[in-house]
């Protein structure tokens, strides 16, 4: 509505009357308050989408020597994570395979609907108990509903301890 007043002023090129000036002024001030206040409110409501991120951090997950048999091991890692105003715990189930210094870690969370997959030793595949999603030993989705491979995690051996970074690297 205020916009139309300003348009009129430019279009007809007549001299700006006091009434028109004041009307435009009301429009500008009202608009400034609305945009300023609305923008501030929406920014803070939307901000946690960007600021409330789960940060990747290195957590210890047992002795590397006990796991170093070239087989997949199911390990549950628990770590502190900030959740808004709370300090919470996040649990993550991980499959790790340790070959000397080389470590391969996969998230056990199925990319279909988030169940935990199981490693099937006979076929050497990961199978999801919920909807029969199948992933191969590298985490690639092979069959069933999943459209993405299992998320990978950075992992390393440090002073004989297995260290896992909690940041999930989704394919």
């Amino acid at each position: 509505m205020s916009g139309s007043k300003e348009d009129n002023m430019e279009e007809n090129g007549k001299k700006v009357t006091r009434r028109k000036f004041l009307e435009a002024g009301i429009g500008v001030i009202t608009g400034a308050i609305a945009v300023g206040l609305g923008g501030t409110a929406l920014t803070s409501i939307g901000a946690p989408a960007i600021t409330n991120k789960r940060e990747g951090k290195w957590v210890e997950a047992g002795n590397a020597s006990e796991l170093a048999d070239g087989q997949f091991h199911k390990i549950g890692i628990t770590y502190d994570a900030k959740d808004g105003w709370l300090e919470g715990k996040v649990k993550q189930l991980v499959y790790v395979k340790v070959n000397g210094e080389e470590v391969f870690a996969l998230s056990a969370t199925c990319t279909h609907l988030g169940c935990n997959v199981n490693f099937d030793e006979q076929s050497g595949n990961f199978k999801c108990p919920c909807h029969s999603g199948v992933y191969d030993a590298t985490g690639e989705n092979v069959s069933g509903p999943p459209t993405h491979s299992l998320a990978k995690l950075e992992a390393k051996v440090e002073d004989g301890k297995l260290m896992i970074n909690t940041a999930l690297k989704e394919a």
Binding site: T40, S44, I45, G84
Partner: protein, 217 residues
């Protein structure tokens, strides 16, 4: 683009003309002065409080475990949370003043007289609602100041005869100022009072439109 969009609606509904007639070109008595603005200022502050209040509702948790933590979160962690809380705080304080000045102006000018008695009556209700907003909102941060100020407030009715002790317990939701007090103050602050305000404001505004504002002295 935006102008065209407005055009689409305006051609059908003609609100531009309506807006011009009812708002921009609305006649008011001559020799009006700035003291006539206090009512409008009060309404503007109410709108500011509503918007910032809704924004904080996204983060505030009305329980004695979390109220203070979430207020701290809004103030120190949330981007632009501090200005939102500050606007709410200052608008609330200034609104009490603006309501008082509005009433003072109406009283001194005798604007409450026939036929505008019911404007005064709804206004007095709105004044009470504003004070209730202030009283209930003060407790919500659940800090020491909030706690002890409310302690004083809820114990005041106790000295009234007969119903006094019960009124006090009704305010607190029991014998102690605690979890139930906070949640009922929260409910009153964010649900009951806003609805009552809208009802009384609608009457207040409709009547002043119907009767026009009183002429200056």
């Amino acid at each position: 683009m935006f102008g065209r969009l407005i055009e689409v609606f305006d051609r059908r509904l003609g609100f531009r003309e309506e807006f011009k007639r009812n708002v921009l070109d609305h006649p008011v008595p001559p020799r009006i002065n700035l003291t006539y603005c206090f009512g409008g200022i009060t309404f503007l502050l109410y709108l500011l409080l509503a918007v910032t209040g809704v924004a904080m509702l996204f983060f505030y948790v009305p329980s004695i475990d979390h109220a203070f933590v979430t207020v701290e979160y809004i103030t120190f962690d949330l981007p632009l949370g501090n200005p939102i809380r500050a606007i709410h705080h200052w608008s609330a304080n200034i609104m009490i003043t603006a309501v008082f000045l509005h009433m003072l102006r109406v009283y001194v000018y005798g604007a409450y007289k026939n036929p505008r008695e019911f404007n005064w009556v709804t206004g007095v209700f709105l004044f009470g609602i504003t004070l209730a907003f202030g009283f209930t909102g003060y407790l919500l941060p659940w800090d020491q100041k909030a706690y002890w100020a409310t302690k004083v407030g809820v114990l005041m009715p106790k000295s009234l005869p007969v119903a006094g002790p019960f009124l006090s317990q009704l305010l607190m939701g029991g014998d102690d100022l605690g979890a139930l007090t906070l949640s009922r103050f929260f409910a009153i602050h964010v649900a009951v009072l806003p609805i009552l305000t809208v009802i009384f404001l609608a009457g207040h505004f409709w009547m002043i439109r119907r009767l026009g504002i009183s002429k200056p002295l």
